[in-house]
Amino acid sequence: MRRVFLTGAATLVGAEVLRALLHRIEVHSIALLMPADETLRTQTLQRLEAFAGPMPLSVSVITGDMRLPRFGLSVEAWKTLASSADIGIHCGQREVPDQNLELARQANVAPVENWIYLLERNPSLRLHHLSTALVGGARRGLFTEFDLDCGQRFHNAFEHSKFEAETRLRESSVTDRVAVYRPSHVLGCAATGQAFDFGGAYPLLSTIAKAAILPGDARARLDFVPADYVASAIVTLALHNAAGTFHLACGWETSLPVRDAVKLAAGGRGRSRGARLLPRAAAWPLQLAGASSADGLTSRALAFTTARDLLHQGPVFDTYLADLALKPAGITRPAPASWLETATRHAESCAWRSRTPRD
């Protein structure tokens, strides 16, 4: 019977991970790291219950802040936590694609230090760390699960800080008990489009769905994966004590050319044609006005930079280790062409806002 400690449950991937864990009979207990503020905590738990169903007694709450040393816990509570779990799943992250490296490091690197400390205290604990395939940054070429530092440039603080977090984990003494999951652009559930939160790749999706003109390369490829695939991969591999790095991406073959992704997203919004795409070098005047996103999900400036950075050819993600590990479990990734429009339609129906109460 496995005891799980989960951070970042109230995120796009975290909520799916929680939902998947609740369905696994081998999971004996799940401890969730939640905000210390009672009102916020209650609201978050209500949202999670609305998404994943009523929480059974096996789910408990630990109040703290992942950015603080020892997650903000007392020494005693920290010791108790260290001995109370054998699987750690870290989904908490700041995904804003801006340039604020200080904030990004607080949210994306500092918690990793806590995890390393926790793993050092409990030799039977294993960490499953949600990273991102975007740590490949602006590299154009193959990016494998064995790669990290390829001398790449980063578009934003999110990519940079997640890269630093992975580097820290690789260099730590506990690295052989760590599994790193690198999903590409994550959206909601493949079958229904349902999403706990419109984080992940939703700012990008809302931009390509709404904008009339964007900086982008029609021939470049976009790699989307649904959150339920990411979550079931993480949970399955966590319960099998996996270690190493896994690309949870659709890979070159099924990734979408930008022109097709733009068309599908626009179709999901009921538009007959997708955004016009301008080469990056010619699109700089657009920066002055920014780009629009559906229902203002993201600021015009961020929408522009997100499109400029991500609608051009980046790394091609190789999925060898993930395929090797997930094939025996029967976990396959659906091609984005089959579900991207559904994801957009669902987001539209929710006005790009979570239906569950938010803080």
Binding site: F146, W252, R280, V316, L321
Partner: protein, 380 residues
């Protein structure tokens, strides 16, 4: 004689290729491994010339796409400028290249039936199909990659006659391994300094590193691929980016045979890995992987190469190919540099004027020039 184009090596067939005795680089197993591990928008076609009975008289693969690092041998400024242009203007600006030959060749060639009388005719048919395939896939540049100096001069003249500019490519390194024992190789093939160096490497490794060979190595790939990748990412000339799948397919290959030499520290940590491909006539130390986090990476590199040489001698294989890099250590091991040629043709009129400049730049890769550098201790 009639030309034919195939989309898969499986359609050409293992037996027909093996009958041609194409050499390791053009063997069925290696070409299939390459075909199954292509990534990005790269496609492969196999150009053949066949007789009326369907027997192969000549064949070569051609790879077409824009994710081939075709300018790896050109000045860094040009490579950076090209990358910036594609980054700014998009993939439509990426040059589509048709590369003829094995993408992972140590010794480029055009396999042909040894009894064939009309070699020039067969070659012209292949080149005509190359032009056709290149145009069909909108290639702007055509290349025949790393043609070894042993290809008859008349054949090279035919290629030039088909509109290709001839320049030097990186020379390849060959070691004569036609010795009864490794000791005999050390005594007869190496200089006094080389001999001393080789023995010192094995002495230094005693009690620190051990070497073992694995023939069925597919299960080892997750453990060693990172080391091979590290060597690629450090390489000065980064040509083909091979995914793990390539190693998987190589491990499964029977024509040619493959094996993995592992160099392990006494605590079990894998310090290096060498993938060898071989048949009864020749061997290639195809891909090396090194753990650069260890202080002895130079020692591990030498140990793996010497073990590769030992394997060839023990099997009675007369010729060993060491690839197109690290010329200083490999000549110390007794390797000889041999010229290879690159043939380039511009299908895009905008690229035509650049050919004389490319040819001029690549003159630096002649074996004589590289050897001169090696004497000063510089690997080009």
């Amino acid at each position: 004689m009639r030309p034919r184009v195939y989309e898969s090596i499986d359609d050409v067939g293992s037996d027909r290729i093996t009958e041609l005795q194409p050499g390791l680089d053009f063997s069925f197993g290696l070409l299939r491994a390459m075909e199954r591990s292509l990534w990005g928008a790269l496609v492969v076609r196999y150009l053949t010339v066949e007789n009326d009975d369907g027997a192969l008289l000549a064949f070569t693969p051609v790879y077409v796409g824009s994710n081939l690092n075709f300018n790896a041998l050109l000045p860094k400024a040009i490579q950076k400028g090209y990358d910036a242009m594609v980054g700014g203007l998009g993939m439509s600006m990426a040059t589509r290249v048709a590369v003829t030959g094995s993408l992972i060749s140590d010794r480029g060639w055009i396999p042909m039936d040894r009894e064939l009388r009309d070699r020039a005719g067969a070659l012209r048919l292949l080149l005509r199909d190359l032009d056709r395939v290149a145009k069909e896939h909108h290639a702007q540049l055509g290349m025949l990659k790393d043609i070894h100096r042993d290809l008859p001069a008349e054949d090279r003249a035919v290629i030039r006659g088909a509109g290709f500019a001839e320049g030097f490519s990186l020379p390849t390194i060959r070691i004569d391994t036609n010795y009864a024992t490794f000791e005999e190789y050390l005594e007869q093939h190496l200089t006094k300094n080389g001999r001393k160096h080789a023995r010192k490497q094995f002495r230094k490794a005693e009690g620190m590193y051990s070497l073992r060979v694995i023939e069925d190595f597919e299960e080892m790939i997750p453990r060693v691929f990172g080391l091979h990748r590290a060597v690629f990412l450090r390489a000065k000339y980064q040509f083909e980016e091979l995914p793990p799948r390539f190693f998987v397919e190589c491990a499964r290959s029977t024509t040619p045979k493959t094996e993995l030499v592992l160099c392990e520290r006494t605590d079990g940590r894998i310090a290096g890995s060498l993938m060898i491909v071989y048949d009864e006539r020749e061997q290639q130390n195809k891909r090396i992987g090194i753990d650069y986090e260890l202080p002895d990476s130079g020692l591990v590199y030498n140990l793996l190469n010497y073990t590769g040489i030992q394997r060839a001698i023990a099997r009675g294989i007369p010729s060993l190919w060491l690839g197109q890099s690290s010329y200083v250590p490999k000549t110390r091991m007794g390797g000889r540099l041999e010229d290879q040629y690159l043939f380039i043709k511009a299908y895009d009129p905008m690229l035509k004027p650049t050919l004389p400049l490319q040819r001029w730049w690549m003159a630096r890769y002649s074996a004589a020039n590289v050897e001169a550098g090696v004497e000063k201790g510089i690997s080009i």
